[in-house]
């Protein structure tokens, strides 16, 4: 951890208009929860539907993408990473710092709104709010690591990330059950399913597979991103 690098990264992600991007989706989630509450649909079924199909499968991957690639990709894109890399700071430490920043942002912008939306609708009934919040947190950590790695490897990180989150996890995951085993989202849902005991929520990846997978993706992502940055050469694109 390096506090100066962390402070610079926070400023880069939260400064000016960029915070709007991080705020839009959580605000929409809470607005939907309020709407459901107002029209009197505040039961467990709707809550699980909202948290599963909006919070976990739409909001979380996108926020993970914005936070995970946003901590490093813009700097690589406009070349200012050179100022950071020329300082006597170990590059794996730079990566670890940026990873911690991304995770903290996800905890703030994804986990907290997920809990608030669940709590608004059903209170603490059946542990839905807490379960989904924990699921969002662990999946958010893995997303941050994966997308941070993607941001170091390629300049099309956001596009590839969107294709992974939308096409693989949502489209292919819905059609081919086997694809769900290799989806961070499904692992997060599996953790969420362990905490909540709502009858409306079913998961199809076992916890015994999800937890090791989450840990491996996170550690491998951060480690490999650190290695990539150690031997990084700045080259032009386009």
């Amino acid at each position: 951890m390096n506090t100066v690098v962390a402070a610079i990264t926070y400023r880069a992600l939260l400064g000016r208009r960029r915070i709007v991007l991080l705020l839009l989706l959580p605000l929409a989630l809470i607005a939907l929860a309020v709407l459901f509450k107002l029209v009197g649909e505040g039961d467990q079924r709707t809550t699980v539907l909202l948290l599963q199909s909006f919070a976990l499968s739409t909001m979380l991957p996108l926020l993970g993408l914005i936070a995970g690639t946003g901590v490093i990709a813009p700097e690589i894109d406009d070349g200012t990473i050179i100022h950071l890399m020329s300082k006597p700071i170990s590059r794996p430490v730079i990566i670890r710092t940026k990873f911690v920043v991304a995770v903290s942002l996800l905890a703030l912008f994804a986990t907290v709104p997920t809990y608030v939306a669940g709590w608004l609708l059903v209170g603490n009934e059946a542990g839905i709010a807490a379960g989904f919040a924990v699921g969002a947190l662990v999946a958010g950590i893995a997303y941050a690591a994966l997308f941070l790695l993607l941001g170091v490897i390629t300049r099309h990180a956001v596009t590839i990330g969107v294709i992974y989150a939308l096409v693989w996890e949502s489209l292919v995951g819905n059609l081919v059950p086997g694809a769900r085993r290799f989806s961070i989202q499904a692992w997060g849902q599996s953790v969420a399913g362990q905490i909540t005991d709502s009858p409306f929520f079913r998961t199809d990846v076992t916890l015994g597979f999800a937890v090791p997978a989450l840990i491996i993706v996170t550690l491998a992502g951060v480690f490999w991103a650190g290695r990539r940055l150690r031997g990084y050469s700045l080259t032009g694109d386009e």
Partner: protein, 286 residues
């Protein structure tokens, strides 16, 4: 005392091609950039992969027509069914049209020529519109040619095909105006991709949920308006009114009245173009 010397540079006295030519050159250059033509191979991977994904259902559909004499996807439903791919294309390629000029602040260079801000914006929107239109219309045309060649029993669905091509143009204009407006707010490509994607997903993920909730609590009239929040369903509702095609919303739910949808569509296109014009007026002043 200073004096400007004539140091013998030759003047340009060839033909001046004028505004229309520079508009065309700018539009063609942007269009080539969208598909990565004239750029390194890795800039071509994403757009052409998305075009290939977009063509797949058309190929499957032709195979169905040839083998079991049945229609696959209806022409009018193509854009709605493939909306995620179209949205990813729009999100990933809009920043390549607007971001480099903003980042390198070369706008004043363009504007020192006869090109005006309006010309510049119009050329960019035209290029993006043509690209999105091609993305939707090429599979449709392929499918139509397939249908004519396979010679299904009964007349080919020429009317539906023509209608869906016209609506593809309307959809392309709407998406191009909005995609470029959103992407032009940041000079960074990654953030541009993310912001277009965030807005699309907000509209696509929330609409069925808002609709379902309002519907199940008995607000059918209010529920049907929810479809207009998503560009693809909005254009489909106009299509369903103009050409009498069945609605392609989830489970064939009814749309609100057609003229209102058309008004919303026109208003949204105007809003997107207006936002772009304002953004570039500001960018040009820097």
């Amino acid at each position: 005392m200073s004096e400007i010397y004539d140091i013998g540079y030759r003047h340009y006295d060839g033909p001046r091609l004028g505004r229309a030519h520079s508009f065309r050159a700018l539009a063609v250059h942007s269009l080539r950039g969208i598909f990565g033509i004239g750029r390194p191979a890795r800039s071509k991977i994403v757009p052409f992969a998305l075009v290939a994904i977009m063509l797949m259902p058309a190929v499957v559909s032709i195979a169905l027509m040839a083998l079991i004499k049945e229609r696959g996807i209806a022409y009018s439903a193509y854009a709605v069914i493939m909306q995620a791919v179209v949205a990813i294309f729009l999100a990933s390629q809009s920043p390549t049209v607007v971001a480099p000029d903003l980042r390198h602040r070369v706008l004043p260079l363009y504007l020192s020529r006869p090109v005006s801000v309006a010309d510049y914006v119009a050329a960019k929107v035209a290029a993006m519109t043509v690209a999105v239109f091609a993305l939707v219309a090429v599979p449709l045309t392929l499918m139509y040619v397939g249908e004519v060649v396979v010679d299904l029993p009964g007349d080919p669905a020429t009317g539906e095909y023509a209608g869906s091509i016209l609506m593809a143009l309307a959809l392309a204009l709407l998406l191009a105006a909005f995609g470029l407006a959103l992407a032009s707010f940041t000079p960074r490509r990654g953030l541009g991709v993310a912001s277009v994607m965030v807005v699309y997903l907000l509209s696509s993920a929330s609409v069925p949920m808002v609709y379902g909730t309002l519907y199940s609590t008995g607000n059918e009239a209010a529920a049907s308006w929810a479809w207009l929040l998503n560009p693809f369903w909005l254009v489909d509702s106009v299509q369903s009114w103009l050409f009498g095609t069945p609605p392609h919303s989830i489970e064939g739910a009814a749309y609100p009245s057609g003229p209102a949808s058309l008004a919303v569509l026109v208003l949204l296109i105007a809003a997107g173009l207006g936002a772009l014009a304002l953004r570039y007026r500001k960018a040009a002043a820097r």
